[in-house]
Symmetry: C2
Subunit: 507 residues, 2 copies
Amino acid sequence: MALFSYSNFKPIEDLLELMGEIKDLRSASSLLDWDQETYMPRGATGNHSEINATIDKQIHSILTGDKADKIHDQFLNTRYEVTIFERRLFGLFMEERRRALKVPVSLVAELARQKTTAVESWRIARLKNDFSLFRNDLNKIIALKINEAECLGAKENTYDALLDIYEPGMTESELTAIFNSLKEKIIPMLGKVRTSGLRVDTSFLFELYPREGQIKFIRLLADMLSFDFKRGRIDSSSHPFTTALSANDVRLTYRTNENDIRMSVYCALHELGHGLYEQGIAPDLYRTFAGEAVSYGIHESQAMFWEKIIGKSPEFAQWCFIQLKSYFPGRLKGISPVEFYFALNKVEPTLIRTEADELTYMMHILLRFEMEDDLINKRYTADSIPSVWNEKMEKYLGIVPANDSEGCLQDIHWALGAFGYFPSYALGALYSAMLATEIKKQMPDWNRNITEGYFTPIIQWLKENIHTYGKTENPNQISLRLFNKKITTDDFLKYIKAKLNAIYSVS
Amino acid sequence: MALFSYSNFKPIEDLLELMGEIKDLRSASSLLDWDQETYMPRGATGNHSEINATIDKQIHSILTGDKADKIHDQFLNTRYEVTIFERRLFGLFMEERRRALKVPVSLVAELARQKTTAVESWRIARLKNDFSLFRNDLNKIIALKINEAECLGAKENTYDALLDIYEPGMTESELTAIFNSLKEKIIPMLGKVRTSGLRVDTSFLFELYPREGQIKFIRLLADMLSFDFKRGRIDSSSHPFTTALSANDVRLTYRTNENDIRMSVYCALHELGHGLYEQGIAPDLYRTFAGEAVSYGIHESQAMFWEKIIGKSPEFAQWCFIQLKSYFPGRLKGISPVEFYFALNKVEPTLIRTEADELTYMMHILLRFEMEDDLINKRYTADSIPSVWNEKMEKYLGIVPANDSEGCLQDIHWALGAFGYFPSYALGALYSAMLATEIKKQMPDWNRNITEGYFTPIIQWLKENIHTYGKTENPNQISLRLFNKKITTDDFLKYIKAKLNAIYSVS
């Protein structure tokens, strides 16, 4: 029996056609975004921005047009028994239509345009280490996002309307509870690590690892993780990301640092996690609103699973250690696999989110979550960002950036108007720990397989249990199906505690 | 005074917005096409095809929608005095709208989809040297193009409707007259060359020219011709082409052959000619229907001008000879610049259009023109293409391809449904000869400049007299403005006769 079955209800064809057209336009938009970060001539920034704005307007007009109205009425007024899958497709369509009807097209176009402008000014501000060059564009983006959130409407908190875009159903109050539970445990743990007296040596990670070797090693990782190059590609860019035009066209980027082997390896593992998800979505879902990830939190869980749960495990460290020694002759000399594993997991408050260890990473997200909440609720404007950022870094991690490039200018997200996205990273980390618990339970050979670089059983498990379903479920449903419970901090806290105990002997 | 001025007529704003949106969508489509030939994972072919079909449908629906109707009525019914430029924009819009109203959207989408399919089967057929693998898809494309031509309507010949897309106003009967005039002179000339007894040595062009050197040399050519890399890029692909998303985003591709130095050099000159045209269009015309080339014939004239008129001149040969000797040490040893010039201009019937000399090139186009005329007028189907092709090759050039890959499968155009395009190459060659006459008249230093590799004055002339105007004129108007006459074969025939006389001493 087909997993995703159709009844004979005629109007489904109109729905499929409409969704197909919107998905096509979004794919074109994804290609423009990918192009902008990889091959676009710099002088074309403004043009790409205009094109994206036009595409967004077209999508908006399809979603609010006569055909969409007709589909809406036909589904609502029928007594025909449609399948569960059809009902889901209709539900996803309804939700997109509801949003489009609430947000005026002029705002859609303005946001699309302002994004590209803000990304460029962010780029320059970061390069010149001068937040003031980004401030005005960021204030504009924030004003537009507040406007969008108000149009969308939310019961309790304006910010909820934006969170809902990335994590359907998630709210500011639920996230506050999650972060409180994390904060309460992480801050004391961090204190214990600090006073443990153990000095983990990481110097051998920062020797010269030539770029060509890193590129070859990334290719090995991609092959080991069965990334399908017939249906995807990998390029380098200054800000690593994954874009999928469809499951047949999944594009990752990575960056290398010749003096930090961690960057390319963990960047690649992270994006490969995203990439495997996209490539694993069932072909039946192509050109439908279900042909994408459940949510950004679940998407990040796949990236985090490979980057952190697997990538920072002693088993992977052992495999990776042997590989790196052969890819970079002369490196890691006189180092043991255990020292290598310790180095990869060194816990230490640092300034850059993407380079943070698993424990302090959560504090980086907490900081951003609180600031987004404040900004969208107009408690302060972009003008206050640098000072608030530094205060919070001091409060949560005990360190203060020497400049804004290492502080509030480090991430591209706000320039893109992606307010509500950051929490996905924390949710991803929590889900990935829940996944680890479950997979370990179901797969007794897990440790040995990873030590031997045999990743196929896990990949297969993730594909069969998550990827293939696309967006046919919401985050809660998938959590209940897989774990028999809603999202929780328990698994993550247990996992991180065990790791710290093993490395720092703290309990 | 601004070259392109506006009145205070309000509805122009609606027209500009509508044209802007369509241009944006076309740019997205151009990016998809470029991507398909450069970086797209092969498994995504079908998806790109769907996306392009959706974009074409969107454009069609904008052109035939209420807003377009309103603009149409407002312009037609006004007594307001609009500027010449505004009238031209309205005229271009009217023409696009007229076409869209005549061709049903289902046909538009079907054509977009069938194109991508046909290109893939053409690729395979060519690789496997088996026309039968392409035949069915080609028959489908031809049927769709006939359908399109019939929808568009033409006074005398169905084929005229397709010619008009590429060369506004051009007809089958005018082209027949042009080709008759060419044929009448070229065939005897070819006979004289054959019996001249001169054997031109070209062997030194086919020695090993390493790829890296060729890539560097192409970069030099691009710099010499002031191609702006901030507003464009150059990649390699198996079928060289130029795509412009806008004047700020012009993308060329080239191909190299390590055993034929002509391929990359002439390919690059050709595409650079196209590229300079696109980059030279006035910024004021951005996102309007006037922000593109006059016609494909005029576009080809720019490519042909650099590839042939300049690229095959004794002056350029002399400059190029010195450069190549320094880029490829050991090559061209014991060869004189004159021998090099002779080799570049060797006249000899050959099988591949893109490698043909200037004289026989016209016969390659004549053959394709006649076949397109026959196919669109249903005188035979795709099934007859291989035999008809070979007969005509025998008749016009006295040679017969040993297989279809060297024959009727050599060009991508028919797979793309571009029936009506080929004549543009002949028109381009004629216009480029007319341009040469005019530029030589106006620029006494022409010879010395080229010998010294100083191309700026000519580039400037082309920019100021052609590029900057975009599509504000039609082909006849630009011909009258620049040459005070309509297109003619005279200049080309005079030019080629002089060249043959210099090399082969034939008159």
